[in-house]
């Protein structure tokens, strides 16, 4: 699954550490999500989307191969 997390985080000028504190997960989780190596659960995806005032579909995109 692709996502725009890194772009949105940069737009808000937040580090991965800041983002992880706001969402309540580890920095490794944030990094894994941004690199596309880990797909978050629905509650976490919604938390992230709400943080950036976006919908889940605005932040995450299903790839053709998914």
């Amino acid at each position: 699954m692709k996502n725009r997390l890194r772009v949105l985080r940069a737009a808000f000028n937040w580090s991965q550490m800041e983002l992880r504190l706001r969402v309540g997960v580890s920095r490794q989780a944030i990094n894994a999500i941004e690199t596309g190596k880990y797909d978050p659960s629905l509650p976490l995806a919604m938390k992230l989307a709400r943080l950036f005032d976006k919908t889940v579909e605005d932040v995450f995109e299903l790839e053709e191969t998914d």
Partner: protein, 132 residues
């Protein structure tokens, strides 16, 4: 007066230290024969209860530490324990066959879970690298 809250991770570390000491103490009592030769039934029963009782807090704290992790780290734990189980099953099955064939002495049961813990620990370190 403001109440200083202890960081949950620091509190957990403290609890781990205490339970490790408790376990080490009960382990020494049950394994080294500190009570002398356990001949009578009540003494043998007491040793078993002490041994298991000293280990249960370790199990409880392990479960607590997993619950404190986020979903990503819980997943890493799940992968690590799966791999550790598979390797341990292979090692214990192979050592059983080797013992039956007369190549090696019997492997103590505590050795089995020591292998599992070792593989688990190594896998916990290695697995997150695949997510970078």
């Amino acid at each position: 007066m403001t109440e200083q809250k202890i960081d949950p991770n620091i509190r957990l570390l403290g609890q781990i230290a205490l339970t490790t000491l408790l376990w080490a103490g009960t382990f020494l009592i049950t394994k080294t024969g500190a009570f002398g030769h356990a001949g009578s039934l009540p003494v043998r029963l007491a040793l078993v209860v002490i041994g298991i009782g000293g280990f249960l807090p370790v199990v409880y704290l392990y479960a607590k530490s997993i619950r404190m992790q986020d979903e990503f780290n819980q997943r890493v734990h799940c992968i690590a324990i799966s791999i550790a189980f598979a390797v341990t099953a292979t090692v214990s099955y192979a050592s059983d066959l080797l013992f039956e064939a007369g190549f090696i002495p019997p492997m103590p049961s505590t050795g089995v879970w020591a292998v599992m813990m070792g593989i688990w620990f190594i896998t916990m370190i290695v697995t997150p690298r695949f997510y970078r």
